[in-house]
Amino acid sequence: MIERRDLLKLGAAAPLALGFPAALLARTAGVAMWVRDTRFGMTGAGLMPAANEHLVDGDVTGLWTGSLDAAWRKRGFVVAGVTGSDALFVLEHLAWSRGRRVTQRQEIAPAQGALPALVQWTIEPTHPSMKA
């Protein structure tokens, strides 16, 4: 698991310190759920509204079956998160099938060892049948 000190070594401290939290928090309006990838340790912890936070370990099965599958059959429901690129790959393809797109993405840290790149993203409904 990457801890904050590992991200510092990776050079990811700058975005964390200079703007990543602010940028994330700037997009809180209308976000129905936050997703955080626990493989990356402290990253993002405390930055997301806890009540709407969903934790994943790279596997988004529970997120899909427990929340998004139902939520994304209806209009609206913006989701934002900080996850590995592998988790985002899956979520992006699921989003496409439900009239949604990744409308914002920013790599926070590159892939290292067994861990994929860490990415901050937002998924919003874009198809007329899904827009709020």
Partner: protein, 537 residues
């Protein structure tokens, strides 16, 4: 510049899109570059090159009548359609068509589980239904049925079956096309056809007897391009009461031959579920000396491999066995398997694994309590859809060459040796074939091995090397009688070309059929290596 269908002018393409909009509504006709992004192959080794196969538009009909109308309009304008179910066929082309300029027919809105029958153990579904959807429908109704799903579970039972996809439970259900029973198809002229008992008006046994009377054409729609499947039935596994696992190891390399013989019996006699082979020696591949031995030109000798195993204190092979059924039956079948193998192979050892009642608890699904290192992913083994497999995907995905080989230890040794030597020049790729490589028993009655080289969009030289490796793998395997069972559009012609008995009699037969029912190539020209006359060079 916008992509046009082959031999269609921009003006006629615009007219066709207007006609599609009149049928579907403008919101379900996609033609902008942004809208078509989801219809590219995310795993393409030719991403952003001239070779990438791109759609000109995509359509998402809401019902069968709209599918029929689309086919008729496409026929009028001679525009190829490329039907997809959920479009998640990654590693085999995803949602991208064989012919650039085709219109993708996205069937995701046909997403109803039409029938679920516990007492007769079947489902009838539409193509946009995913394995998750089918699983949820069974759970919501509280039915004692088990599905057999692939990794991952976001695909469509229809799409996967039509690709001859596989799963991980009992042999009767792992072959997803084999477990299908009855289909409804929109033909290239827009007519609607039902196969088997579905052709008999008033029949109530469409999902119980797949043949009806006369020739059964359903096989033509798997990896084929003779119609668009809009409904399909599937036999389901009555949920077993109990699940039991066990591990058997054998000490010597040559023991694998007898082990496979006995396990074939266990599989074919329906005594166990998917059999999962592995070599514990694969853990030594990080050691240069051992890796050199395992990849030795011409293959290592049995004695050399046995000496390496002995030095490492490891058995040469292991097999994970799984048993389904009443608790007493699973115990008896495991006892029988142990007795058969341990009495036949000196030095074989058995370890009892997890055993529990079904359905499994969330904790049991984690598969964290086995007293041995297991290769089994429990979600798949128990027919519970998952997306966890994507955690192992790196780079920009991978390709897939899965050659079919006979179920014998000798055949495994031969493929290890031949393919290792053939792919030696591509030494920057992972070692998919070496003396520790085990076959997969995903198919009901055949082995396959895996060549799944990674793709990197930003590294064209790497992708070009992977492309050469794929083509060489297909060619060399075919010379030894090993054929791929499934391929991405860019490799389908090469694979189809290897099935050449009788001067390509099979392909010529397919072409005759295609010319007869779809001379303009409206349905997925090139799919499965079958081209109508219009597209044949």
């Amino acid at each position: 510049m916008a992509i046009l269908p082959p031999d269609v002018s921009a003006a006629n393409f615009a007219k066709a899109l207007d006609a599609f909009r009149a049928v579907l509504g403008a919101d379900w006709v996609f033609s902008s570059a942004e809208d078509l992004g989801p219809y590219r192959d995310s795993f393409s080794p030719v991403w952003d090159t001239q070779q990438e196969r791109l759609a000109s538009a995509a359509l998402a009909p809401a019902n069968v009548e709209q599918v029929q109308a689309i086919v008729r309009i496409a026929g009028q304008y001679r525009i190829p359609l490329f039907p997809i179910s959920t479009g998640k066929n990654f590693g085999y082309g995803g949602p991208s068509p064989n012919v650039t300029g085709s219109i993708v027919l996205d069937l995701k809105r046909l997403n109803q589980v039409l029938e679920l029958e516990e007492a007769r153990a079947f489902a009838l579904v539409e193509p946009g239904v995913s394995y998750f959807d089918l699983y949820r429908a069974i759970e919501e109704k509280g039915l004692k049925l088990m599905i057999d799903c692939p990794d991952p579970g976001w695909g469509s039972p229809i799409g996967n079956a039509l690709e001859r996809g596989i799963g991980y439970t009992m042999a009767a259900f792992r072959d997803h096309f084999g477990a299908s029973c009855g289909m409804e198809v929109v033909l290239p002229n827009g007519e609607l056809m039902r196969t088997g008992m579905g052709a008999l008006p008033g029949s109530k046994s469409w999902q119980e007897y797949k043949y009806g009377f006369g020739p059964d054409p359903s096989g033509l729609f798997a990896q084929g391009n003779f119609g668009i499947v809009t409904k399909m039935g599937f036999r389901l596994y009555p949920r077993p009461e109990h699940y039991r696992t066990g591990l058997i190891t054998v000490p010597k390399r040559r023991d694998y031959v007898k082990l496979v013989e006995i396990c074939n019996y266990l599989n074919d006699a329906m005594l166990c579920g998917e059999i999962v082979y592995a070599s514990p020696l694969a853990a030594l591949m990080s050691k240069p000396d051992f890796a050199a031995l395992a990849k030795k030109p011409g293959g290592p000798s049995d004695a050399e491999m046995d000496a390496a195993a002995s030095a490492a204190g490891l058995p040469s092979w292991q097999v994970d066995l799984q048993f389904f059924g009443p608790e007493a039956t699973t115990a008896a079948n495991w006892a029988y398997a142990k007795d058969r193998i341990l009495s036949a192979i000196p030095g074989a050892k058995a370890i009892d694994g997890d055993a529990f009642a079904l359905p499994a608890t969330p904790k049991q699904m984690e598969n964290a309590t086995q007293p041995y290192r297991t290769s089994i992913r429990r979600h798949g083994a128990l027919g519970v859809p998952s997306l966890g497999i994507w955690k192992i995907v790196r780079d920009d995905g991978h390709l897939g060459f899965f050659p079919i080989l006979p179920r014998s230890g000798e055949a495994v040794f031969e493929m290890q040796r031949v393919m290792c030597d053939a792919l030696r020049e591509f030494d920057t790729l992972p070692s998919y074939f070496n003396a520790t490589t085990a076959p997969l028993h995903w198919h009901s009655f055949a082995f396959q091995m895996v060549f799944a080289p990674p793709v990197r969009r930003s590294d064209l030289a790497h992708n070009a090397m992977v492309d050469r490796a794929m083509k060489k793998a297909v060619e060399v395997a075919a010379k030894h009688g090993w054929g791929d069972y499934r391929a991405a559009p860019i490799y389908q012609d090469a694979v189809a070309d290897t099935y050449s008995f009788g001067n390509h009699a099979l392909r010529r037969f397919h072409e005759q059929l295609k010319d007869a029912v779809d001379p303009d190539g409206i349905i997925a020209p090139g799919r499965g290596g079958i081209w109508p006359k219009r597209f044949r060079k």
